[in-house]
Symmetry: C2
DNA sequence: ATTTTGTGTCAATTTTATCAAACATTATAA
DNA sequence: TTATAATGTTTGATAAAATTGACACAAAAT
């Protein structure tokens, strides 16, 4: 990430909560950080940042951690999936485009 | 990300699909990449990588893009949330710990 | 059909994440 | 209670990500 000041308070909170959820998932499985790191092929430092909710960790590291925890990587597919607002807006705009267009 | 070889084919596919879902959400809103980038305070190049599903983009950039699209950042909270396997494992292990422990 | 503007994509440079190796701290096990 | 091992945390070096700026290409508006 470039700079922190652009991160909104809301987004910060979301990342922190997500990190904590990942930590809880690890503890439920009774897996030490060292094991997850090994399987995910990342350093313990990086996992620590993930569980703390640091915005500056690559999505790839996240994905590999979720996979290391066992089949949790599919949760990523939930993002921008059930896009209620988006579909409503699209219905208003008649036909579907391949590029954004003004007005 | 450190190196690509560790990324499994499965995880690669998941990231690609997630990127595409984000792109579709943008198009539904009829927002040009330039506008999303501006709001998310990232370069067009980075957004392009997100929509392509590159593993080497920070979670912070993802979060800000989701926010720029309008209220989509809460989708991140769906990750590791409904952890069925984890809860089952925990039930087997009686009490809940704060640290992983062997056996 | 022509023009406009969003998009795909590259290379070079700057900025940042990731790592390794410590050490301190604290929850469990014994 | 003491010992043990998991976790929190820092630092400095290096690998990698994010940016800028450029250009060609393509979709949609005129």
């Amino acid at each position: 990430m470039k700079h922190v000041p652009a991160m909104s308070i809301v987004t910060e909170r979301v990342l922190k909560q997500m990190g904590n959820q990942i930590k809880l998932a690890r503890l439920r499985r009774n897996m030490p950080t060292s094991l997850v790191c090994e399987r995910a092929d990342i350093s313990r430092m990086t996992l620590w940042q993930i569980e703390k909710g640091s915005p500056s960790v690559s999505i790839g590291s996240y994905a590999m951690v979720l996979q290391a925890l066992g089949g949790l990587e599919d949760d990523l597919l939930l993002i921008a999936k059930d896009d209620v607002l988006g579909r409503t807006l699209q219905d208003l705009g008649l036909k579907r485009k391949q590029r954004a267009r003004k007005v």
